[in-house]
């Protein structure tokens, strides 16, 4: 993979010096030199190690556990099972009024029950003096079961799918007009079925937890994407005050959604520490991650489109069936983008779910839209072929002015511009339309295009900013760094908001002792923190000005906030060079070591107020605007005529993601999303045996994520136009990159070969 220029448009006029620049990530040196500490790397004197024993049946009850052999392994401290584990409180019922109730990965109260709900559920934990002894003893725990019938075959259960209920966060159904009738009447139409398999996140760092109790106080190092949820959940499960639970997670080695919920490994490490009175560490094996952490649901989708001969859509129908576990998981918004992308006269979207005796599904990069855009955007390509129309032209003819399904305004939408930019960089004009018409020796060459779309979210974030008398700035917020570059971006934002050099700002994150940050999800973290951070900086400027204007010696004496701007490390009268002073001077004269401003509060009342504020803003925003990131994905493939092997040879992604805070880390996020989209298109599939629901390829050797050789140079570019309704004009970029990517590949494969593969992944056997 090679670096490509990220933008060729002239840099927009910027108010500040840091925002937008491709600044190297601040955590880079720590990671490349190995000094960054991950959850399994915190030293504790006298630490013990834990390993899981997984159920080998799909559903039933444990009838006996033989721990003698395991206990006989030298160094084994305990074999904890449902027969001897102390009681824990079960996870609380899920309620949208208390978002942290969503935290538990499953409803199962591990080791407090003899019931087995899926193949791989933890049924015992072994704790030992060494990791090796724990792992060996775990293999020696003998469990007997009484099996009960189980339902595990997703494909076979389609007929039993039930409609998904809507809630304030997610709608299961929506329509405008009578789409079925419009479809039946349409002069040109397609009515197609698509399937996508289960996927797993495969973050580089397997889930790991280090836990230590001190009385009722608990310290946990856990690679989590949601420190707040984890803290609340552990306090609830173990019946201790949340204030006494400290979660430390400054570095998370990738997550992609897999570390959003609280899964068995974390809970059971804390339990093992409780039982043994030792600090305990558990690093899941890769197989352990597959067996105890949910993945992306499989899907079966129908997309039907009707159009006039002019290509104007008269009907758009998108329905989906996805899976949840009987013990948890939530439906995915597979049809979400289909409410927003095309100005169809009649629309029907509907999501159905089947409940299976398997581990809960969970969020994975762009849950819903990643697989939903595959079906929708592949179907649009098929319709373009039916119409004999260029697929970009078809999209442009149906580009809506307002949100198609309900007429809401778009806060901002520049999909046309993204297509124009992408088409030019890609050289779309050189494409000859007939499938199979482009060749390079024995390679069949194909070019495909698809829209990317991902709604933007904003969540509550508590932040403090401190200006010290030496002119340095400290930003504190318990947000998460899974590799996206969050600390760097927030440092850039604070630097510009306060008019200080980037190097003067330090950002603390990843610790529950800090003001509570947003969860890292929904591509919302940067925007959510930015909103509070800019407010906090504004407050801080005002209080620093208040100090200065009261002071006889200050050039800012009597200045009003409106007359003052932050630059050159201090406050200055706007338009009057030399008529201000540095923050250091203000604080020194005032005899203060620092000044600090906070947004949001972590008191109990503050937390409730924050949630209420979030929900009301969220609901009001939802009523007024449709906000999203979007883009155009351009893909060129080469298909081997003999073997059907598909190689992606070129990629251009042109995005409308609002304002970009850091050109380098933003491009990495978009590019990483595309890489994951290529994996989804061509090779990724979790093999679930339909006979028992057991995952059969829980390893990086057999679950095929793309390797370097699968990835061509990826040219990522973006429009960099701020969204007027979002903090600093930024919309999230973490997920939009994966959306549309699989469809672009599928469409390119069709262009190369004339073959439509509607069941992912597009492995070569489907092209022979």
């Amino acid at each position: 993979m090679t670096e490509t220029p990220v933008r060729d448009r002239p840099a927009r006029e910027r108010t500040g010096r840091s925002v937008g620049r491709p600044i190297d990530r601040v955590d880079g040196p720590a990671k490349t030199t190995g000094t960054a500490r991950f959850s399994a790397e915190y030293p504790y004197p006298d630490i013990a190690y834990a390993a899981l024993v997984h159920a080998t049946i799909t559903r039933g009850r444990i009838t006996g556990i033989g721990a003698e052999e395991a206990l006989a392994v030298p160094g084994v401290l305990a074999v904890i099972t449902h027969t001897n584990a102390p009681p824990m409180k079960p996870p609380p019922p899920v309620s949208v009024l208390n978002l942290s109730s969503l935290a538990s990965g499953s409803k199962v109260n591990y080791l407090n029950t003899d019931e087995v709900h899926w193949s791989g559920q933890p049924v015992a934990v072994v704790v030992a003096e060494t990791q090796e002894a724990a792992a060996q003893a775990a293999g020696l725990v003998r469990v007997t079961y009484q099996e009960s019938p189980a339902t595990v075959d997703f494909a076979g259960e389609q007929g039993n799918a039930t409609p998904q209920k809507s809630n304030p966060l997610q709608q299961g159904e929506g329509h405008k007009g009578d789409a079925e009738a419009a479809l039946a009447a349409a002069p040109v139409s397609v009515d197609l079925r698509y399937t996508t398999p289960p996927h797993h996140h495969n973050a580089m760092e397997p889930h790991a937890t280090t836990a230590a109790w001190d009385g009722d106080r608990l310290t946990v190092h856990d690679g989590t994407q949601n420190i707040g949820w984890l803290r609340t959940a552990l306090a609830q499960r173990f019946g201790v005050p949340a204030e006494g639970v400290r979660v430390i997670a400054p570095f998370v080695g990738g997550a992609f959604g897999g570390k959003t919920m609280v899964w068995a490994g974390t809970v059971l490490t804390v339990l093992a520490a409780r039982v043994t009175g030792r600090a305990v560490r558990m690093t899941l094996t890769r197989e352990g991650v597959y067996r105890t952490v949910g993945g992306r649901t499989p899907s079966a989708q129908r997309v039907a489109l009707g159009a006039g001969a002019d290509g104007r859509l008269t009907a758009l129908i998108h329905t989906s069936v996805t899976q949840v576990g009987r013990v948890g998981g939530s439906p995915e918004q597979v049809t979400s983008q289909s409410r927003h992308l095309y100005d169809a006269a009649a629309i029907l979207v509907q999501q159905r779910i089947v409940e299976l005796d398997m581990l809960s599904n969970t969020v994975m990069r762009a849950p819903g839209e990643s697989i939903g855009t595959f079906a929708l955007e592949a179907a649009v390509d098929e319709l373009a072929c039916e119409l004999g129309m260029d697929p970009i032209e078809l999209r442009m003819r149906n580009e809506p002015e307002r949100n198609p399904i309900d007429g809401k305004r778009f806060s901002h939408r520049m999909l046309r511009e993204a297509y124009a930019l992408g088409a030019e960089r890609f050289g779309w004009a050189d494409r000859t339309a007939p499938p199979g018409s482009m060749r390079d020796g024995r390679w069949l060459v194909g070019m495909g295009v698809a829209s990317a779309y991902h709604p933007s979210w904003e969540m509550a974030a508590n932040v403090t900013v401190r200006m010290s008398a030496d002119g340095t700035v400290l930003v504190r917020c318990g947000f998460h760094e899974m590799g996206m570059g969050g600390a760097t971006a927030q440092g850039q934002i604070a630097a510009d908001a306060l008019g200080v050099p980037f190097e003067a700002v330090r950002v603390e994150y990843g610790d529950s002792d800090l003001p509570t940050g947003p969860g890292a999800g929904g591509s919302a973290q940067t925007a959510s923190v930015a909103a509070s951070l800019t407010k906090a900086c504004e407050k801080l400027r005002r209080s620093l000005l208040a100090l200065a204007r009261r002071s006889a010696g200050s050039p800012l004496r009597g200045a009003r906030p409106g007359e003052v701007e932050a630059r050159d490390g201090g406050l200055h009268r706007a338009g009057h060079p030399g008529s201000g002073e540095s923050y250091a001077a203000i604080l020194t004269r005032a005899g203060r070591p620092f000044a600090e401003a906070a947004v949001g509060s972590d008191t109990r009342a503050g937390t409730v107020a924050g949630q209420v504020r979030f929900m009301s803003k969220f609901l009001m925003d939802r009523r007024r605007w449709m906000k999203a990131a979007c883009g155009a994905q351009f893909c060129e493939v080469r298909v081997d005529q003999d073997t059907g092997e598909v190689r992606v040879s070129r990629w251009v992604g042109a995005f409308d993601v609002g304002r970009v805070i850091n050109a380098k880390t933003a491009a990495s996020q978009l590019r990483g999303g595309i890489v994951m989209g290529i994996g989804m298109a061509l090779s990724e599939e979790t093999l679930v045996d339909p006979r028992n629901g057991r995952i059969m390829n829980p390893s990086l050797a057999e679950y095929h994520v793309p390797v370097h050789a699968d990835i061509p140079p990826i040219d990522v570019c973006y429009l960099d136009e701020p969204d007027p309704t979002m903090p600093l004009g930024l919309v999230g970029i973490g997920e939009v990159g994966i959306t549309g990517a699989a469809a672009a590949v599928a469409n390119a494969v069709h262009h190369a070969t004339g073959r439509r593969v509607r069941d992912l992944p597009i492995t070569l056997d489907k092209l022979l």
Partner: protein, 331 residues
Amino acid sequence: MRPFAYVSATDVAGAVRAISAEPGARFLGGGTNLVDLMREDIERPGTVIDITRLPLDGVEELPGGGVRIGALVRNSHLAAHPLIRARYPVLSQAILTGASAQLRNMATVGGNLMQRTRCVYFYDGAADCGRREPGAGCDAIGGFTRNHAILGASDRCIATHPSDMCVALAALDAEIEIESVRGTRRVPLTAFHRLPGDTPHLETVLAADELITAVELPASALAATSRYRKVRDRASYAFALVSVAAALETGEGVVTGVRLALGGVAARPWRAHEAERALLGAPATEESFLRAAEAELAPAVARSQNGFKIELARRTIVATLRQVLTEGGAA
């Protein structure tokens, strides 16, 4: 992983003595397969005999033009060796399509020959597998069979042998030299791996107390014009769905010499004798290649998900022979 004793052998006699004293022991080459399988609790040796210090790491030219390869030669070393690249390019190419650079740096020739199947049910202790546990059934049948065998399988086991290197060796008429306290013996590579029959757990003809000491390649003019083609699910770092090792010699438009072997299709690297017979003396054309492929694949049996391999093998045989014909051997 279970605890085990570790001993290190410094000469061949010591290594075979050590294993004859404890037939449940295992030799340790690069460890890239053995250690994985020990972690998975599939291999449970009480003793591991490290053989990496044995003086078996040379590649030597034999009188008459053949080559002798020590059993401890690392895969990457072998692939890069000038003699191999010049005289047996198919072998060099096959090795380089396997695993990753890091694994090839560790993996030895002996270990590569002995590596075990990648059947996902073989790897899952919760599944029934007669290759792993003598007498057990086979959960692959009726399950995920996409990677499984189309030739030489039985109703007891449909696993494939995963090696790329061995496919090239099969085409090159390699012989394996084996040492034990009883003496030295030689086995043709094509007779080394067993088809499953009723005893899938018996994977090779190597006895529990035998050590592989070398692989010998006979001199072959034909081998210089040879290629390896591996078809897989991603561009690198995946096992073969189907692979083809081919060497071809033509005169006046007619096939005068040919060696052909297939990977990913059977529990052994599959020497394509039927195809070779069909090709020898036939015109060197696409039609002959296709007919030969069909002759070889006539007995192929498809399972629930691997029927595509029959078509893929046919096409890959034709494509590889075509490429050798038009472009010559691998450089």
